[in-house]
Symmetry: C2
Subunit: 427 residues, 2 copies
Amino acid sequence: MRRDDPRLVEVGAKAEATGPAPAQRDAREGAPPQPGLEARLMRRLLASLGDPALRVKLWNGESVATGSGDPVAVVGINSRAALAKLLLHPELYFGEDYSDGSIEVEGDLVKLLELVYRGTAGATFPGALFRLAGRRRGNTLSASRENIHHHYDLGNDFYRLWLDPEMVYTCAYFPAPEATLEEAQIAKMDHVCRKLSLRQGESVIEAGCGWGALAIHMARRYGVRVRAFNISHEQIVYASGRARALGLEDRVEFVEDDYRNIAGRCDAFVSVGMLEHVGLDNYDRLGRVIDACLDGRGRGLLHSIGRDRPAELNAWIDKRIFPGAYPPTLRQMLSIVEPREFSVLDVENLRLHYALTLRHWLRRFEGARDEVARMYDERFVRTWRLYLAGSIAAFDAGALQLFQVLFARHSNNVLPWTREHLYARRD
Amino acid sequence: MRRDDPRLVEVGAKAEATGPAPAQRDAREGAPPQPGLEARLMRRLLASLGDPALRVKLWNGESVATGSGDPVAVVGINSRAALAKLLLHPELYFGEDYSDGSIEVEGDLVKLLELVYRGTAGATFPGALFRLAGRRRGNTLSASRENIHHHYDLGNDFYRLWLDPEMVYTCAYFPAPEATLEEAQIAKMDHVCRKLSLRQGESVIEAGCGWGALAIHMARRYGVRVRAFNISHEQIVYASGRARALGLEDRVEFVEDDYRNIAGRCDAFVSVGMLEHVGLDNYDRLGRVIDACLDGRGRGLLHSIGRDRPAELNAWIDKRIFPGAYPPTLRQMLSIVEPREFSVLDVENLRLHYALTLRHWLRRFEGARDEVARMYDERFVRTWRLYLAGSIAAFDAGALQLFQVLFARHSNNVLPWTREHLYARRD
C-alpha cells in the first residue's frame, strides 16, 4: 500500500490509518473512513516509539503508516492476540510474536529496529509503562551456570555455521571497515594483547574464555602462559581439544570453573565478553578477584557491552537469549577497579565495530538458515535473526556501547609511553 | 653523617636516631645514647610515611635516618617550632616550613617527595589524623574569580620565564620522551584537535583557555572558529593581543567570563585544565552547559588532573597554590557526561607525560630562579620549587593522574573508525 493510496487517512500530524474495520467505521455517507480501535492503539504505540517510517498491516486489513518518507519495512500483525500482547509489553512481545510468526516483517528488519532505538533514545522504553513485574534471573554460582548453559551450550555445530573459523563470539576490531571477519577477529585479539603489553614468558589469567581463541592466540603469538576459565562445559571441552591439537597443553590450561573461584597470581588479567554475565551485584567480587591476581606490574583489561546510562537489558533478550545479562555503564565498569590500587590507562568504545561484526554474523547466519532450521526449527531461526538484527540496530543507534577498559597498578611506571604501538603495522 | 657513624643508634627495625639531647640521654655509664623526644616523634612521623630512605637533622644536633640504602636527601629541621607544626599537620606544614626556610632539603627533593607519596599510597595521608578543620574555599562565581586570580594573575612575565613560548600551562604530550617541551605542547594541541576530529569551518567553544594557545592553534591549523572563555583577566588580555597580532580576531574570540555563562552552539566543546578548578558541586552545571552547546554531531573533550580514588587536594597546595581546586576521579569526571545523551569514546591517562612536562618546567624555573627571586622573593622561589617538585613526585608515584575524556552524542555515527589517525605522521 502506497502513501497515495486513497484508502489512507491522515491520523495526527504524521500518521495515517485506514481499512475495513466496520465496527468503528464512521457511518456518515461520504465521510472518510475512520480507523478502528486496533489501528488507533497501534498508532499510539508507534507515536511512543517516535513515529518510525514504517507501515503496519493488521489482520483485519487495516493499515497504519507513520513517519515521513518511504517506509523502511512493512510489519504484519497477524492476530488480535498478537496485537494485544504487543500493546501490553512491546519490548517483550515484539520478539515473542516475531519468533512464532504472528508478527512478520517485510523490508529492512535492522533499519526498522534502529528507527525504534533512535526514536526512543533517551526515553524510558515505553514498554516499561506496562511492564509486568518479572524478577530477572540473578547470577549466583548455580544460576550463572544455568544462564550460561542456556546460550553457550546450544552446540558448537550451530555457532560454527556463522562465526569465524576461530570461533570468536565477541566484538571484532576492524582496522578498516573492509577487513574480513576473520582478519578483524585476529586484529581484535592483537589489539587486546598489545593493550596489555604482553611479554614473552608472562602469565595471564582469562576469565570467560569462550571457545579459547584468545587464550590460544596469546600463548602462540605472545609466548605467555595462560589459565583460562569458563563455566560453559561445551566450550571448555572444545577449547581444551584445540589446545591439545596445537601442542599447547603445557602453555594453556582451560579450567571449567567460575571466575569467583580464580586464585593465583598473574601478570595480566583479561576478560572479553564475560562482564555482561556477571551482574552488578558481583562487581565487587570480581574486583577482589582481579586485585588478588595482580602484582605491582600487573595489567588488566575488561571488554564488555555497555550503555551510556543505566538501563535493564531488553526484556525479550533477557528472556530468550541472555538470561541474567546486564550491560553496564562505563562508570559501573569502573566501580570494579576504582576501589583498588589501579589506574585506568585507556578506555576505547568500539560500538560501531560491534555493529559491523554483527552484520557479518547475520549475513552468515542467513546463508546457513536452512541448516539452522534443520538443526532446530523455524522459530529458532526467527528468534536468532531478530536477536542479531536487533543487536546491530542497538549498536548502530548508540543504545549499546562496547567498552574496552585497560588498567594497571597505579605504581606501575613501566608502561608504553603512548598508544602508538597499538597501531604499528602487523607483518 | 653516614650510616656507619658511631653516634647513630638503631631505633626500630629500620630507623636510627642519635645526638646530644642531654635531657633524654640515658644516664647509665657506657650505655648507648638514647634518642630524645623530638627524634622519637620525628621517627614516628617517618614510619607513618612508610620509612622513606632519608635522614633528618634536627636543630639540636640529633639525627634520624629511615629506610634502607643511601638516603635520597637530608632534611634539616631548623627549630623546635618547625617540628611541632610538622607533627601537627605534616601535609600543610612541610610546605609552609620549606617555603620560609625553617625546613631545608639537601639532595633530591623530587625523589624525597616521591618516596613519601609511594609510602603513603593507598593510605590516608597521615596528616589527616591531625588535620585542623579548615573549610576549603568553594567555587561560587565570585570565589572562582578570586581563586583563579590568586594563581593565574601572578604576572605573565613570571610564567614566561619557564613555560614554553606558546605559554601552555597544562600537561604536554610527548610523542617520544626525547621531544622538547615546545614540540610536546604543540603535539598535545594536535592530539586534542585530532581527538575532536575538527574540520575546517566548524565552531569550537573552549572553557578555560589559559593564555589562548590552544584556541589560536585550532583556528590557525584546523580552520575552525573559536570562542574561548576564561576568568583570568591577565590571560584574556594577553590572549586577545596575540590573536590580534596574528590577524585572527575574526576567527578567535576571547571572552572574559565564567564557563557557567557560556551560551550558544558549537560543533566541539573543549576544556583543557579547567576542570580542576570547577569543583564537584558544579559538575552538573558544567554538564548542562556542554549539553546545551552541542548538537547531534557534537564532540567534547575534557582534560583534567585526576585521581584513582576520591581524595582532597593536598592541604598546602590548596592553601598556597590552587585554592579551591579538586582533582576528580575518572568516575567523577564521567558524572558530567553520563546524565546527558553522550557516549564516552576514548579515555587516555597521560600522568607520566605530566611528570615529564613538570620536569621541564622545574629545570627552566631553576634556571630563572635568580630572576624570580628579584621579581618576588626567596620564599616565593622555595614555594614554587616545592610545588613543581611535589607535582612531579605525585604524577610519578601515581598519586595524581591526567585524564583526557572524549565523548560525542550517542547518535553520532560519523566518527573516525579507529584511533589510528591520532598517530599519523605530522608533516
